[in-house]
């Protein structure tokens, strides 16, 4: 693992369970799920569909409260929606009435201390957003509206919006799931670049094993419902990883190993 990573644990989930109450029936979505993530680490969670991956994301961010167990971020227990966490979903949820630049700047209008400073230092913040857009190759489209962008561009803007306020935690829920294979692989590179520059802690929820291995330091495999972590795999491939890396035998081995686990889980 790269030496920059601080060993302090940043996110912990301790024997978390969640029961969905829907009318008469109650479903156990997640049971006894424990994991811990270090500061600045990029982890991926994979698993069969319907295993509660997205539920996990909502639990970590405090959007839903777990029925049992506890979640901490930076040592503090999570009780309500955690503040200042960046999120990106499969559907890019950009606001159609705002230009790309204004969309990216949305979190700055909400998160303190930027919210207070934004009006006075608009130029500085705008430059910062433009810089970020340049990193992902979108600076020429800053004035365009989301519906004038391609799916891949929208997703780049979406990722920019998720990290503009420099959150300590970034949650990615299949952010590249709706893109074509070429665009998706291109964005893996963009994502890795952003992470290597900024070293935020990131949790990537995905069903694409190659994506997980490409981006993550560690990959967790979830069981089918009720979801829990059944396997954990360190990805000991040096960064920056490139698309050529994905054709190396070691990369393939890890992907195969994970795939076998998922198949096992499916048929258990």
């Amino acid at each position: 693992m790269s030496p920059e990573i601080n060993d302090a644990t940043f996110v912990t989930l301790d024997k978390v369970s969640l029961v969905y109450q829907q009318a008469e029936t109650s479903t156990l979505a997640v049971e006894d799920l424990s994991l811990s993530i270090k500061k600045g680490e990029f982890v991926a969670v994979v698993g069969p569909s319907g295993c509660g991956k997205s539920t996990l994301m909502k639990i970590v961010t405090g959007l839903i409260n777990c029925s049992a167990g506890g979640v901490t971020i930076g040592g503090k227990p999570v009780k309500g929606p955690t503040q200042g966490v960046g999120m990106a979903f499969q559907n890019s949820t950009l606001l159609p009435w705002r230009s790309t630049l204004d969309n990216v700047m949305l979190p700055l209008e909400i998160v303190e201390p930027h919210k207070r400073q934004l009006r006075r230092e608009r130029d500085r913040y705008e430059a910062r957003a433009m810089n970020l857009l340049r990193t992902v190759g979108l600076h020429e489209f800053a004035d365009k509206f989301p519906w004038q962008l391609s799916g891949g561009m929208q997703q780049r803007a979406n990722v920019c919006r998720a990290i503009i306020h420099e959150p300590s935690l970034l949650m990615l829920d299949e952010p590249f799931g709706a893109l074509d294979a070429f665009t998706r692989e291109e964005l893996w590179g963009v994502m890795q670049k952003l992470w290597m520059e900024r070293r935020f802690t990131a949790i990537l929820i995905t069903h694409d094993l190659r994506e997980a291995v490409f981006l993550a330091d560690r990959v967790f495999v979830m069981s089918k419902r009720p979801g829990r972590i059944v396997y954990e795999r360190e990805v000991d491939i040096p960064r920056p990883r490139t698309l050529d890396t994905t054709f190396e035998p070691h990369f393939g081995e890890i992907v195969h190993e994970l795939r076998e686990r998922i198949v096992e889980v499916k048929h258990s």
Partner: protein, 257 residues
């Protein structure tokens, strides 16, 4: 060679003129009496003859309609925001609103006369109550259909309910609001003319009622046409406003005017 765009532009005029031509020809061929169905030429003659009176009464109607409509926009937006933003208010108020909307507004006019007397106020109030409902429903719908993911993104940034409302809810409800304005303005004309017909000494509704009681049927039809024209004009104003304010919701289509 006439381009397709040209044809599209001419169509509304062509159809309107066509209807009048058919109407005129039908009257000529059947020889129907003028006090049953006057021909467009007779309606036009009446319009010219009574032009000052028509102008006076139509300005009155335009005033009551616009006043009622503006009140409906303001009230409808406020109530729509309340209903759309709070599940509690929605559950409590929605059935009452539906019930209220089911009441034929003409039945309200006598009550309004008892409260406000005959004249301008009942017309304004009727225009208001009739055009209020679609605005409320549309604004509330716009607010209530925010994508859950977007809401999650903002909540995880630490946004308050008010911030979510102002940053996302209200801008997002704007296309719904403007779509409802086009319906509401035409309804407002229905409201004011109904009230003028029943309880006023002024306005197109009153003009038509007094004309019909003296069997001046061409003047009645003239009033109808004037109301129709005012409705189309106000609709066009609302549509132009809509395009200006929420162009992003149309994404470059040409037909949505």
């Amino acid at each position: 060679m006439i381009s397709e765009k040209m044809i599209l532009r001419i169509m509304p005029w062509a159809v309107t003129v066509g209807i009048f031509v058919v109407w005129e020809v039908a009257c000529l061929v059947t020889g129907v009496a003028e006090f049953v169905l006057p021909a467009p030429t007779a309606v036009w003659a009446a319009t010219v003859k009574f032009a000052p009176q028509i102008l006076h009464h139509s300005l009155q109607t335009l005033f009551t309609t616009t006043a009622g409509f503006v009140l409906a926009v303001v009230g409808g937006m406020l109530l729509g925001v309340f209903i759309g933003a709070s599940k509690l208010v929605y559950t409590g108020l929605y059935p009452v609103l539906v019930g209220f909307n089911s009441i034929p507004k003409v039945a309200l006019v006598p009550v309004l006369v008892i409260w406000f007397g005959i004249g301008t106020v009942p017309a304004i109030v009727t225009a208001f109550v009739i055009s209020f409902f679609p605005i409320v429903v549309n604004v509330a719908t716009g607010l209530a259909t925010i994508e859950p993911e977007l809401r999650d993104v903002l909540r995880c940034l630490g946004a308050t309910r008010t911030e979510i409302l102002f940053k996302i809810g209200i801008p997002r409800a704007m296309p719904y609001l403007f779509a409802s304005l086009k319906i509401a303005i035409t309804l407002a004309f229905v409201g004011s003319v109904i009230a003028e017909t029943v309880a006023s000494n002024e306005g197109i509704g009153y003009l038509m009622l007094s004309a019909s009681s003296s069997y001046n049927v061409p003047l009645v039809f003239s009033g109808l046409v004037v109301v129709g024209i005012m409705g189309v004009l106000m609709y066009a104003v609302a549509a132009a406003f809509e395009r200006r304010m929420t162009g992003w919701a149309f994404r470059g289509s040409d037909l949505m005017t």
